[in-house]
């Protein structure tokens, strides 16, 4: 009765290279992501993980390489295009809208699905209200899912770090993405919060069938929940495979041992 079945390749990155004014952030990286899987990108600090994520969702444009999303080439995709194509993401340094409540933050995630025009919104009654209420109901499900009912109307700025991360995830989920990119979702959390987050990631993947691409600095947690892992070091791919394969990969071992011990 397993809910998810790992499917075909949904996202294929080919020979991605990215540099900033001569500094190479990513060198010739290729890997793919299959539908419904949890794909982790790990590597020591400065390995290019964040750059990789930024490339995938169009914040950075790679100098070389191709991004194939569901068979379509997307090398010149911008963030907006990525969002439209069903990619959502969270941020390592929480990028919530600090002047808004939790509810409003999550509601922004629905913006692509809201259709009422400006005049309708100004008049409110009718189309705009109906739409607003529909989306509110959707958002409430996410709030319930992530167990953040008690902070629904709190301004996000007042929340502790762990909860902010959860709201960040909620906002991404509100987009009903096909692919969810998580940028160090467990950074800075305590053990309990990490466990919660793992549970949420698994639940998302499981219940909504969302493909998850996550990057993480800390190997431990990730290995438990990922289906396949890419390992980056100094902008280069040094390993790719199931957690067990990667753990056994001598390059990975040396990179990790060399970097962190």
């Amino acid at each position: 009765m397993n809910g998810r079945k790992i499917g075909e390749v949904i996202l294929d990155l080919k020979n991605i290279s990215l540099s900033f004014g001569g500094v190479k952030a990513l060198t010739d990286i290729s890997f793919d992501v299959r539908e419904h899987e949890i794909r982790a990108i790990i590597g020591p600090n400065g390995a290019g993980k964040s750059s990789m994520l930024n490339v995938i969702n169009g914040v950075y444009r790679p100098q070389q390489g191709d991004i194939i999303l569901r068979g379509e080439h997307h090398a010149n995709m911008d963030s907006y295009g990525a969002a439209k194509a069903g990619l959502a993401r969270t941020f390592q340094n929480i990028a919530l809208f600090k002047g808004m409540s939790v509810l409003d933050n999550i509601m922004t995630g629905r913006n692509l699905k809201m259709k009422a025009n400006m005049l309708q919104q100004a008049i409110w009654f009718g189309a705009a209200q109906r739409e607003e209420l529909e989306h509110r109901a959707k958002v409430e499900e996410i709030i319930d899912f992530l167990e953040i009912q008690h902070i629904r109307k709190t301004p996000v700025g007042r929340l502790p770090y762990g909860l902010q991360k959860r709201v960040d995830l909620a906002r991404a989920l509100a987009m009903e993405p096909q692919i969810l990119l998580l940028d160090e979702p467990m950074a800075g959390m305590n053990v309990e919060e990490k466990q919660d987050m793992c549970r949420f990631i698994l639940d998302v993947n499981d219940q909504f069938g969302t493909t998850v691409v996550l990057i993480e600095h800390d190997m431990g947690v990730v290995m438990d929940i990922s289906d396949r892992v890419v390992v980056l070091d100094y902008g280069k791919k040094i390993g790719d495979g199931t957690p067990d394969e990667v753990r056994a990969n001598p390059d990975v071992i040396s990179a990790y041992l060399g970097a962190s011990h």
Binding site: S50, N54, V59, F91, Q92, N93, A95, D183
Partner: protein, 309 residues
């Protein structure tokens, strides 16, 4: 051709005068992130102080010597500007550290009101004269080359020289003195500067003092050129495109920006103005700055802003 050169020269010299005011903006923005809308009010305040003291001091001392009177008045005005700078930092900006740019900008507008009010209360709101012996009459150059020669405004020329001098001395101050180096450190990174033991409060007072002196010099030059009265404070608005064009954080930017704006607006007024009815120089200067911005959003010499995710 001669006329073109004259316009060019005129623009350059106006530009230098704008730069003088722009410098004040840049100094303060660089060190404290405050976009000081009160710069114009400071210029007026300084000029008023200079003008009035140079009037009063001979009365008080009962002597006639214009040079001595000006010198003394200058000294007093310097002190006055130091006090003003210190008070601004003490009473207002100290409490506004880390506020948003717009808030700071509003605060300086508030300060401008206060300065305008106090200035007029103490010094009066009539027209006053600063006579530092600047020559008023024009000279002609290259009369052999062009018919009628090229007109040089001696006053502007001297003013431009003084402006240049000020920039050089400021550069030296920044490069060679300990305080100057501390100032630059603060400009680069507040927190880092603080962590290596540079007292931010004091640095900011110093910056405001330096800006105060710049305002005084600008005030004297503009004042002797235009007469000291309320409208002097509006020259700050003329200097704004200069700062934007040059970049908010760059001293050389203020100079180059001033020259570009000065030349640009004069040429536009003289050559384009007549076709559209004239009076275009102000908005033209702003448009010029704006067009530059579209290509370099951080200004000519400003630091590039990089988004991090």
């Amino acid at each position: 051709m001669a006329f073109f050169l004259e316009t060019l020269l005129g623009g350059l010299m106006s530009g230098m005068l704008y730069s003088l005011v722009a410098l004040g903006f840049v100094l303060i923005f660089k060190a404290s992130g405050v976009f000081n809308f009160a710069q114009g009010a400071m210029v007026l305040f300084a000029a008023l102080a200079m003008a009035r003291f140079s009037e009063w001091i001979p009365d008080w001392l009962g002597m006639e010597n214009l040079f001595v009177a000006n010198l003394l008045a200058f000294a007093v005005a310097v002190v006055v500007m130091f006090v003003v700078a210190w008070l601004i930092e003490r009473l207002a900006l100290r409490y506004l550290v880390n506020q948003e740019g717009a808030t700071l900008l509003m605060a300086t507008l508030g300060i401008a009101y206060v300065l305008d009010g106090i200035g007029q209360t103490i010094f009066g709101s009539d027209i006053y004269k600063i006579d530092v012996g600047m020559p008023k009459d024009p000279v002609m150059m290259l009369e052999s080359v062009f018919e009628g020669g090229i007109l040089i405004n001696k006053e502007d020329f001297i003013a431009a020289l003084i402006a240049a001098l000020l920039v050089i001395s400021l550069s030296i101050f920044f490069q060679k003195t300990a305080t100057g180096r501390a100032l630059r450190a603060v400009a680069d990174d507040h927190q880092a500067a603080q962590s290596i033991g540079i007292p931010l409060d004091r640095i900011w007072v110093i910056v405001w003092c330096v800006a105060g002196i710049t305002a005084l010099v600008a005030g004297i030059i503009w004042g002797s050129k235009l007469g000291v009265q309320f409208s002097l404070s509006t020259i700050a608005l003329r200097a704004l495109p200069v700062v934007i064009l040059g970049g908010l954080t760059s001293v050389p930017g203020a100079i180059i920006g001033g020259l570009i704006i000065g030349v640009g607006e004069k040429l536009s007024e003289v050559y384009l103005g007549p076709y559209v009815g004239g009076g275009i120089e102000i908005w033209f200067a702003y448009m010029l700055a704006l067009v530059f911005l579209l290509f370099r959003p951080q200004g000519l010499f400003g630091e590039k802003i990089i988004d991090r995710v």
